[in-house]
Amino acid sequence: MSSTFDTVANIIAETCDIPRENIKPESHAIDDLGIDSLDFLDIAFAIDKAFAIKLPLEKWTQEVNDGAATTEQYFVLKNLCARIDDLVAAKGAVST
């Protein structure tokens, strides 16, 4: 079974035509990979489907805009993957 990071990196590589080898856990989706908000919708869609979750993009964006969070917390890939794992775990907890 592939890791959350592998799944996310493959989604980004395929969706944004970015060489897979350039996508690292430390990569910032916006600052390092140059992914804009519109392209990120396609990534969010693919992540939502792959993990059967709903990334709370609006909440995250609001927190960043309000200064309550940094983009690094959500858009550095290792942090994004940790959030995905949390959402998957929370979903499992609800359904059991």
């Binding site: 396609d42 969010a44 993009l57 609006e58």
Partner: protein, 157 residues
Amino acid sequence: MQLEYFQLIDRIVELDLTDRTIRSEAKVPLTSTIFEGHFPGHPLMPGVLLIETMAQTAGWLVIAATRFQRMPFLAAVKEAKLRTFVTPGQLLSVSAELVHEGSGYAMTAARIAVDGKPVCNAEITFKVTDFPNAEFRARMQEWGERLQIPIEARANG
């Protein structure tokens, strides 16, 4: 279809909020200045307006799915295929489905048929936000009522 107001569908004829599908009808007018230029002596409904017709239908589905709480704005059109010409006077049957309702965005698929034959289709992405103000929301509700959007889709339905 009121081309001059960019209001491209005439009425919503089916809405299923369980299956998240919608169907609208739109009659292409017999005359319009658009047809004088597109093209002289050979009037054709512009492909971009067919895409907009699909986007408006899919957009109403997003509005209905949120019970008029959220407003979709066109963000991306993918895999748009214009399969055959559309001419003045034709009745368009426009269908859309809500493929995914994400956080702040929606993915839809839409298509148009004339006399049961496929005319065009596209995957349409919307950014979905709160209504910028109450007046805008009220105007959209009025417009929805003119389109005969089913009562269960309305804010107070």
